[in-house]
């Protein structure tokens, strides 16, 4: 809103003038050229705010004309509908002529009430601007490499009176006017008039009341007006708006800095002043007067300018329904989805046959129930006219399965028998207690949403196949708007202020776990930010940085392809959404997921899930080695050994339940059947965690309290969760039981529970109905407390069950085929843990990870049968740091090699790769796996000389010996390579592979651990609760899960090489003691107390932590000091005991101080105390 005193004065004066204003000008002004925040790095106000502001200013129309696209268009139209004003749509586009010469930027506006012709032409114009060859243009006009449309194409699209093109100050005409070259301006205008259909060209007058002689001053504006008068063309007034209110001009400055990648002080063309705001009618009229007054114009010029502006706005008012097609779903045509007759009949046929196949094994009652449920679902589908939708989704699922790719439906669609029967989903809904109404009902009219998980490695193949099958005019990828978050915001704010990169980096690293808009509060509250807070207090510039960062938070930052959304529609798709190229080359809609339902676009989430790829890899490896095929989707869901493994909490690598928090919950919950997994996954969510639901459930599950069903009629609903309401489906059933409202309506109530303003009304309705249905006041009070407290939390059981299936499948693979499963994990890296922890897990499971070897390492991790009958996993070639893809491909293709010479001739590695392979031991095959000779091998390779050659893949070579020299006698051992001397195999592997497979990287600390009395992670589980322990290791994960009470808790998972991980919890008081180290130290020694959780779980409450390297150094220095003083040899046990017993009152600052002497002094002091 116009909040500054200056504009307020202007506003009130204008209101006063209402009675004196002429009939045409009135008190409203229609803005035709407005960039929303979706013009990233340019506009800074969201469409919703702009529409509200325009309506409050009395406007009846507002256009959004984002730069290079319609990014904010749908949001704008919806915002206008709710603000009660007419929407206009356009785009601010660069144009070039037939010789690819830049013609500046113009605003292209769609004409309304044309049955969508104008809007379609606009969509096509935007797509055309993005489809041209930027390379071709940039060769001629190096300055313009962005999207640009040719004038000829624009002229085509403007035909049939579909579009108006505004030539403003940034057009070639306006730029000529700005140069005071009136002749050139007139010539250029003539070109435009000749090229475009009659009536399509309008001149745009912009004046930001800038200083005379600068851009945006009154002089070029008044000349532009004169040009229009001379040419006999209409002129309209705009404000080339970039923000709603004057105080947002600061944010626009930041956007400019980010766009130019320059500090504000160094930008050559900053915005001329802060006047590009959405000015109310009075202020715009003031501008018009000044423009007209500054030149010599015909009589009535002022009124004509304002009237022509209003007229164009009228012409560009779009009807949300007839022009844009808001709210009208469009499915792919029947023939595209392989249907010849009526889609409803076809859907019935396919569903019935699916039920016959899938349920007949479960008995006739199950078949009957499935048919009954199908009839129920089909009624809604027919009513809503969604038959084609289901056929479309099932067609996509068929395409994916036909490619031999694993597929798993997720989301509320899993609750549908129809989806199960069509094989879109693989979870049986009836026995799992899932509800169709959670997915679709007559009360829930938004387009349904079915998510499909596929193997991540095959996702792009699937997209291409879907484009091919449906036709590229019916399919597009969906985009997503990436908004500013803490780090990006502080980086761009720091850039604008010209802060040094290093300083910004240091600050940006601390910008996490809070919103940028709360930066100032975080500085006050978070102990680890205290040092930064002190700096901010001292520096005016940093103080400004804090506020500027908050300004940028949540603003759209850039658009990118959505990770999984695919839009499917009919052949009119490209008339309804503008597209641009995505990173993978396929067209991407400029609309995001929020725009899909309003635009009637069907969106299918085809999400690449790495675990699906990992499991597919595992089954392929198993098949390769044994010839046996595993059908994971037919594995029995009651395998005792699988549940035993899950209950042991050794869940590392298992889908969904491998995080420290999940390990702990699994340990407490002790799952026994598939449904327990669904419950476990559903409990481990922010809502249930905050509401303490896990504890309530566990108490009831383990018999500590008896389940409270409140009323016998609720027992069937709540039995599966021991009386605790966890699932959306339970809330729906409770509503239905209490009120008889039906499940569809119940889902509406459930969603409204999250809106506090609706609670009272729902409560009243429920009470009235429930009393009539025989529930007592007391029961109603009790159940209403539960339901109202539930809010919108909880989880759809359909989601939980869909997640639980791959959880179970991956656990089954880990139990029965650990080598193949771990090979899949190492190849596709699906989880949260780093690879070397998976390697450690393999070691613990008795599956050795075999070193890199050019004879057998493949492009992915392969399982090898070992001589002793067990299996190992061979390290994959891509792990070699610095090798190229073609080199690796040649190695894989030419394996095995008969000699070093054979390897050299057929692979032709680059010198760097050759040496790296030798260093890490991958060429040990050529020295008989005699590691001692690696020095000779490396020295030999380094001594080879030759000239660089380009080689072909199939080059023939001579079979010439290239033996590694073998030295004997006096010279044996004389050859040493400096690169190998003093380095262990672990060092070399970490250097060449970033992954230690021979031994764990913590092994080098094990003697120190022993000396200090550190408890190995593997033995932690044997200690009783409350034991004081020292733990050490490398940080593998940091989690700050949501906690009841809101106080932040930090979980750190430490790996010491002995077991999976030990989990340390730092509560608020310990965080204050430890400070920033809780996030910053990676190798650490921790002191704390054990805390038992459930039958198997144990974690440690951390009290203090030290940098492990500091400790190691101190111990080493202490040893040498003691030796120097000729005292008795250090008694490690005593030292450790003292370290344990003495309260080490070290402040974090002292511990992190860079002076080892200082720290040592404190340790010694503590010791002698």
């Amino acid at each position: 809103m116009t909040s500054t005193p200056g504009s307020a004065t202007t506003g009130s004066a204008t209101t006063g003038s209402a009675t004196t204003g002429s009939a045409t000008a009135g008190t409203t002004f229609a803005h035709l050229h407005v960039a929303s925040a979706y013009s990233t790095h340019y506009g800074v106000t969201l469409p919703e705010a702009l529409a509200e502001q325009a309506a409050a200013q009395g406007a009846s129309f507002l256009a959004i004309t984002d730069r290079d696209g319609l990014y904010g268009a749908v949001k704008h139209v919806r915002a206008c509908v709710s603000a009660g004003i007419s929407p206009g749509l356009g785009a601010d586009l660069a144009v070039h002529d037939e010789e690819f010469r830049a013609l500046g930027r113009v605003v292209v506006l769609a004409h309304g009430h044309t049955d969508g012709r104008g809007y379609a032409a606009l969509c096509r114009a935007v797509s055309a601007a993005h489809s041209g060859s930027a390379g071709q243009r940039s060769a001629l006009t190096p300055a313009s490499t962005g999207p640009s449309i040719s004038r000829a194409r624009l002229a085509d699209l403007a035909g049939l009176a579909s579009l108006t093109v505004l030539l403003g100050p940034d057009s070639d005409v306006g730029l000529a006017v700005g140069r005071r070259d009136n002749t050139d301006a007139a010539t250029r205008l003539t070109h435009w008039q000749r090229a475009l259909p009659e009536g399509a060209v309008v001149l745009e007058i912009v004046c930001h009341l800038a200083e005379s002689g600068t851009v945006g001053s009154v002089t070029p504006a008044t000349r532009m007006l004169a040009l229009a008068e001379n040419a006999g063309l209409p002129a309209v007034l705009s404000n080339a708006v970039r923000y709603g209110t004057p105080d947002e001009a600061v944010t626009a400055d930041l956007a400019d800095a980010a766009r130019f990648l320059l500090p504000l002080a160094e930008i050559d063309t900053p915005q001329t002043n802060g006047q590009a705001w959405l000015k109310p009618a009075g202020a715009m009229r003031q501008v018009a007067r000044m423009v007209v007054d500054a030149g010599l114009h015909e009589g009535g010029a002022l009124e004509r300018l304002l009237r022509d502006t209003e007229r164009l706005a009228d012409r560009c008012s779009l009807d949300p329904v007839s022009d844009i097609g808001l709210g009208r779903p469009r499915m792919p045509e029947a023939r595209i989805i392989g249907v010849t007759g009526d889609p409803v009949t076809e859907l019935w046929r396919r569903a019935r046959s699916g039920i016959a196949d899938l349920y007949s094994a479960s008995g006739s009652r199950a078949v009957e129930a499935a048919h009954a449920q199908l009839a129920h679902e089909m009624k809604t589908v027919e009513h809503l006219g969604f038959a084609s939708y289901f056929l479309t989704v099932s067609r996509v699922a068929d395409i994916i399965r036909g490619m031999g790719i694993r597929i798993q439906a997720r989301g509320s669609g899993v609750g549908s028998v129809l989806n199960y029967a069509l094989r879109t989903s693989s979870v049986e809904p009836i026995a799992n207690g899932l509800l169709w109404e959670r997915f679709l009902s007559p009360e829930r009219q938004t387009l349904p949403d079915i998510d499909i998980d596929v193997e991540s490695a095959r996702r792009h193949d699937i997209y291409r196949e879907v484009f091919r099958a449906f036709g590229s005019d019916r399919v597009s990828l969906m985009s997503m708007t990436n908004a500013y978050r803490g780090r990006g915001a502080v980086r761009d704010a720091g850039l604008a202020l010209g802060l040094p990169d290093e300083q910004i980096n240091v600050i940006a690293k601390q910008m996490w776990r809070f919103n940028a808009r709360d930066f100032r509060r975080a500085l006050e509250e978070k102990p680890e930010l205290e040092a930064l807070a002190a700096e901010v207090r001292e520096s005016q510039q940093l103080d400004l940085l804090v506020d500027l960062t908050a300004r940028l938070d949540r603003l759209p930052r850039h658009i990118s392809v959505h990770p999984c959304g695919v839009i499917l529609s009919d052949a009119s798709l490209l008339d309804r959404t503008p597209v641009q190229a995505s990173g993978m080359g396929l067209p991407m809609s400029q609309y995001d997921k929020h725009d899909m339902d309003p635009m009637g676009l069907i969106k299918l989430d085809i999400l690449g899930v790495r675990m699906q790829s990992a499991m597919a890899h595992a089954t392929r490896e198993h098949h390769r080695l044994t010839g046996e095929s595993i059908d994971l989707d037919r594995v029995p869901l009651d395998d005792a050994k699988t549940f035993e493994l899950i209950r042991s909490t050794r869940t590392l690598g298992i889908f969904q339940i491998e995080s420290p928090g999940q390990m702990e919950l699994v340990g407490k919950l002790q799952p026994e059947v598939f449904n327990d997994l669904t419950v476990e996954i559903s409990l481990f969510r922010p809502g249930p965690m905050k509401n303490n639901m896990p504890l309530k459930y566990l108490q009831a599950r383990h018999g500590e309290v008896s389940p409270d069903y409140i009323h016998p009629r609720f027992e069937p609903i709540l039995r599966e969760t021991n009386g605790v309401v966890i699932f959306h489906e339970q809330v729906m059933r409770l509503f239905d039981e209490l009120t008889g409202c039906g499940l569809g309506k119940a889902d509406v109530f459930r969603r409204h529970l999250g809106k506090p303003e609706q609670l009272a009304q729902i409560g009243e309705y429920l009470r009235e109905k429930a009393l009539a249905r025989g529930f007592s006041e007391k029961v109603i009070d009790q159940i209403w407390t539960v339901l109202a407290g539930f809010g919108s939390f909880g989880f759809a059981k359909a989601h939980g069950a869909a997640f639980a299936l791959p959880t179970y499948q991956s656990a089954w693979l880990k139990t029965h085929h650990p080598a193949a499963f771990l090979a899949g994990l190492l190849t596709h890296d699906p989880g949260m843990w780093p690879k070397d922890l998976i390697v450690a897990e393999a070691r613990v499971l008795g599956v050795p990870v075999l070193p890199l070897d050019v004879q057998s390492s493949a492009l992915d991790y392969r399982v090898e049968d070992l001589a002793d009958g067990s299996q190992g996993i061979r390290l994959a070639l891509p792990e070699l740091v610095g090798s190229t893809e073609t080199e690796r491909a040649r190695i894989a293709r030419h394996q095995p090699f008969s000699s070093l010479q054979d390897f050299r001739d057929r692979v032709h590695p680059r010198r760097r790769t050759f040496e790296a392979l030798a260093r890490v031991g991958a060429l040990d095959t050529f020295i008989g796996y005699d590691r001692a000779r690696r020095h000779e091998l490396l020295a030999h390779i380094q001594s080879l000389r030759g000239t660089a050659v380009v080689i072909r893949a199939d080059q023939l070579a001579f079979e010439v010996e290239l033996p590694v020299p073998r030295y004997s006698g006096d010279r044996a051992g004389a050859i040493t390579s400096l690169e190998l001397r003093g380095r262990t195999q672990t060092d070399l592997e970490l250097q060449g592979l970033n992954l230690a497979v021979s031994t764990h990287q913590m092994t080098r600390f094990h003697s120190l651990f022993k000396e200090l009395g550190v408890t190995p992670a593997s033995e932690l589980g044997n200690l009783p609760g409350g034991t004081e322990v020292l733990l050490a290791g490398v940080r593998r994960a940091t989690n700050t899960p949501p906690m009841r009470g809101g106080r932040r808790v930090v979980f750190i998972s430490l790996d010491d090489g002995t077991g999976p991980v030990s989990n340390v919890v730092f509560f608020h008081d310990a965080q204050e003691r430890v400070g920033g180290q809780v996030f910053q130290t990676n190798y650490m020694l921790v002191r704390g107390r054990t805390r038992r959780s459930g039958a198997r779980g144990v974690s440690v409450t951390g009290e203090n932590l030290w940098n492990l390297f500091d400790v190691a150094r101190q111990v080493k220095e202490r040893h040498s000091l003691e030796r120097a003083a000729a005292e008795e040899a250090a008694n490690a046990g005593a030292y450790a005991a003292e370290l344990n017993a003495q309260p080490l009152i070290l402040t974090p600052a002292q511990l992190s101080s860079s002076s080892p002497g200082g720290t040592l002094h404190h340790l010694n002091a503590a010791q002698s105390a």
Binding site: S3, T4, P5, G6, A8, T9, T10, A13, T14, G16, S17, T20, H208, L209, A210, E211, S212, S217, V218, P246, D247, A249, V250, D253, L264, A265, P270, Q271, T272, N273, G274, Q275, G282, A283, R285, Q286, R289, M290, D293, A294, A496, L497, Q540, D543, L544, D547, L548, R551
Partner: protein, 90 residues
Amino acid sequence: MPHIIDAPVDVELSADGDPRAFIWNRFEHTVIGQPQAVFKRTRWWENEGIPTRIDTELWRLDASRGGEEQHRYDLRRGTDGSWTLAMDWG
């Protein structure tokens, strides 16, 4: 001869929001013709805190005191709405 005045003045606005007259040294100066507003940007990032606007508002206008010869003046409006007579251009 232009000279710097830099004195606070009271300004009367027209219904359109333009300055119509200002009172300086107890004398009313009446604006003649269309005054022109000029907004000049600041290097706000060199100062403390986020400003509410990034430009200063200056009005250049012709005015005369009674029937005297008209002068050209610069009036500056602060962010708080107060007015300053900045320049008398003569």
